[in-house]
């Protein structure tokens, strides 16, 4: 399954997902509250030590997630060098880099299912507004299941059109694809209803079962 999770048994891996997210949030607030280079640099070193030494993540696992941000950070530093000076620039860049690496560590050490559970927990206060957290879990499970399905349908339509001599991706292929997958989603919704997923009165148990049957693989 495609995921940025790197399996492991370190204390960081085993820490509760909610705790890790809370630490990340506190770090984010703290970093933006300070403008001191030494504090920000220390934070970056601590985060790197947590990821590489404590969680024993391969260096590549972190750089893979940081790479997309490099260009932004470089541009940002270049701008500060020209306008406000190197010190402010270094703080701004290191601050963002620290946060990005910290977030990468959380992502690499926490299973998708654990994070989905945190989302369900975080959204549970929304019950007041009629939101049912278990249904959020169901939607995420369905999304994970639909990704390969949609990709497969797209590939099939592309092949069919290539066989007729169309060599480029065209709008004409997007419409039949959308209609196909919309029809599929309608069927899935009806099938879930037929199995009791839409029952409102019973609080949770059945919907849980539905989410598990759909399988996050």
């Amino acid at each position: 399954m495609l995921s940025l999770y790197v399996p492991g048994a370190s204390p960081v891996h085993r820490a509760p997902a909610g705790l890790k997210l809370a630490v990340l949030a506190v770090l984010g607030v703290g970093l933006f509250a300070t403008g001191r280079l030494d504090l920000v640099a220390t934070a970056l070193l601590l985060v790197l030590a947590t990821g590489l030494l404590w969680a024993r993540l391969p260096f590549r696992a972190l750089t893979a997630q940081v790479r997309p941000v490099w260009i932004w950070l470089a541009a940002l530093f270049g701008f500060h060098l020209l306008v406000t000076g190197p010190l402010v620039g270094a703080v701004a860049v290191l601050r963002l880099l620290t946060l990005v690496v910290a977030a990468a560590v959380v992502t690499a050490t926490t299973r998708v299912t654990a994070l989905v559970a945190v989302i369900e927990w975080l959204t549970s206060p929304l019950r007041v507004f009629g939101v049912r957290p278990a249904r959020i879990g169901l939607v995420i499970a369905m999304t994970l299941r639909f990704i390969p399905l949609v990709a497969d349908r797209a590939a099939r339509i592309r092949e069919a059109q290539a066989a007729r001599g169309a060599d480029r991706v065209r709008l004409a292929m997007v419409v039949p694809l959308l209609v196909q997958v919309l029809r599929m989603a309608t069927t899935v919704g009806e099938a879930l209803d037929a199995r009791g997923a839409g029952d409102v009165p019973g609080r949770r148990p059945r919907r849980r079962a539905a989410a598990e049957n759909l399988g996050t693989t």
């Binding site: 990340l24 932004w72 950070l73 977030a103 995420i140 959308l178 919309l182």
Partner: protein, 188 residues
């Protein structure tokens, strides 16, 4: 909200993910390659309407946050939510909601022109109105610099708005998913 609506929401979140897996498309005459994902934002709003479209994008962001590399270029995880360009991500659910709202408003006389209006306002204006101030705030750069830097992406977004509108009008005819407000109000 019915189970069917949940399936539509999940479907468009999945479509966003598949669009992210596509390689960026270079367009002749425009220096910046087009990543297809804002196309997904526009389609979600145009096909599903305000509520479901906005929720589809929220679900997509949740899937990104839990660590699937489904943003264009194989990005994902929590890291992208704290980068300087994160504001553009946060703008997506709102953009899809606004597009959906306008689409529902125009639904009875929906055609290419109205679709374009909805996609340009929601899919271009709203996204930049949120993304640019965020870039300026998070990156410590003045608003004007963030603005000029982002303008490079506008031509691509205009092309995407046209493409999304053409598709949305065709889907509106072939498989309309939005029901008119009077009927939606009675739905659970």
């Amino acid at each position: 909200m019915k189970t069917k609506d949940l399936a539509y929401i999940a479907l468009f979140a999945a479509i966003m993910a598949v669009l992210g897996l596509l390689p960026p498309v270079p367009v002749p005459g425009i220096p910046v390659p087009i990543t297809a994902q804002t196309l997904g934002v526009m389609l979600a709003g145009s096909v599903l309407g305000a509520r479901r479209g906005g929720l589809a994008l929220l679900v997509f962001l949740a899937v990104v946050a839990v660590g699937l590399p489904v943003l264009s270029g194989g990005r994902g995880g929590l890291a992208v939510f704290v980068g300087p360009s994160a504001g553009f991500l946060y703008s997506w659910p709102i953009a899809a909601f606004v597009i959906g709202l306008l689409t529902e408003l125009f639904w009875r006389r929906y055609n290419l022109a109205w679709a374009l209006v909805a996609n340009l306002i929601g899919g271009v204006l709203v996204i930049y109105a949120i993304g640019i101030p965020f870039l300026s705030l998070f990156g410590d750069v003045p608003l004007s610099t963030a603005f000029t830097g982002s303008m490079a992406f506008v031509p691509g977004d205009l092309v995407k708005a046209v493409a999304a509108s053409l598709v949305a009008v065709a889907v509106h005819k072939a498989y309309p998913v939005i029901e008119l407000p009077a009927r939606r109000a009675t739905a659970g």
